[in-house]
Amino acid sequence: MTGNRLSGPLADVSADAGYTDHPRRVGFFTDTSVCIGCKACEVACKEWNALPDPDGDVLTLTGMSYDNTGELGSDSWRHVAFIEQPGHPDGDELIHAVADLNGSGDGLGTTRWLMASDVCKHCTHAACLDVCPTGALTRTEFGTVIVQPDVCNGCAYCVSACPFGVIDRREDDGRAWKCTMCYDRLRGGLEPACAKACPTDSIQFGPLDELRAIANYRLEELHASGETRARLYLDDPEDGIGGGGAFFLLLDEPEVYGLPPDPVVTSKDLPRMWKWAGAAAGLLVAGVAVAFSGRRP
């Protein structure tokens, strides 16, 4: 610990944000091993939060497997990634058969499909929240991070600060938007729309400490069944963001899913950076002093 609360484990994020009497910290555990890629989470999120179509009613096909959403953004708060891994030993023979049906016969072998529903991580140390100059981004009593649309002035600092590329500015609206973990539903005692809609319980919602215990049990189960590459991502309070309020069970490296392998909240280095700025200010003063040394000619 560096003596500040800019990084490292934090037992109670809501208390740190000033809440004295608050509910337990809640979160998402997204178990990608049971995701079937149905995108019910994306649809439920769009419906409940009345999110606009980023492409303005035009159907855009990306050519990236079954993913035509592309990425998280101001208008997409859940994003289901589809990864096709031809030749993977854990792949599905059925898909192999389909590949051969189209006459390719190129010995693709088996193809493994990875599907994963990505979302805002609601970091313990949230860079977006740290850098927001207006106080529009705020920590809720549930330990989640939300943008207050009536305060945000669209400075876009959060867009560059987020290590996951989650939050973005809506250019026609001028403000930054991201997942609220359905703050309105939480206030009403309901679970977020995406978790409610998920048919396989790939998206689980609940108190964060309980979810971590469930995730560890599930990981052991997968390891025992031979899925040795399964790993938890952002579950550890000792990691660079102090652990995610949303964390994941992945079956491959994070970057395969478009996630950073070892994200660190940028504010961790803030004291060091201010010291440098102070030194540079000193250099500027010295430069002016030298320029004014000597008599006026």
Binding site: N153, A176, A277, A281
Partner: protein, 313 residues
Amino acid sequence: MTEQLQVPPADFQSYYGRPILKVARWKEPHLPAYLFFGEMSGALALVGAAAHATGRRSLARTARLASALGTYAGGAFLAAELGRPERFLNMLRVAKPTSPMSMGSWILAGHSGLASAAAAADITGLLPGLGAMAGAGSALTGPLLATYPGVLLGNTAVPAWHEAHREITLLFAGGAMTAAGAAGLAASAISADRADFDAAWKLAMIGAVVESAAGYGLETVPPPAGEVYRSGEGGRALRMARALTIGGGVAALAARRSRVAAAVSAGLLAGGGFCAKMAVLRAGKASAADPRYVVESQRPAEAELSEAGALFR
């Protein structure tokens, strides 16, 4: 020469090559212009106070006026950059030490007020005591206004900004000197009292050395983050910046003898400083757009291996 480092390592994986980070929404010319006018104003406040203290009356008045105007120009570009410019004053809704933009907004607000008071007192001749005090105050806020943007950009997830925050901060300190020097050079090209401006000429030359050296420092930032300052749009703008800055510094040598040289030097230095800010913005965007910079900066061991591999390729 360094192009081989651009070859992606065989084990690099990504999601269809898509960016992991969002590319900065900040744009040209707004962000470079804000940075340029902010640091110019900051350094000119120092110049104004020093000129006042050493009896260089014409330089003091020029510096104070330009310093005040610089805060308005910078503030205008900052507001125009916002998605909701009418909510510009929300910047002063809270004071947040964890947000360099919040700190910068307060520094800019304080500095603008002090610089304006100093300029107004100098021009009107009213309340000279208060004017001198405001001028001295702006000499304290000025250096912070000039160098805090290094923290502003450094405190992001953008690899080319976070990893190079030291070099960027020094680039801005040097740029503050050349921008203030350029303002002095421009005024000396038309002023009747040219001897007053000797300090501005010297500051321009010192600044040209510091800014060029910091630019070189950016190019030597280790890969992966440093690559975007050597190649691509960032590298091109940085080389252009250095050529302009060095040219301006050399032209400043002749400013004493020639008004034309003073004017040319001012133009070259201002252009070089603006170009340097564009280089930083473009390099940052390039490093956020390619997931390789994020993955490799977070897996340093593999990045070193791939670099070694590139040498043997």
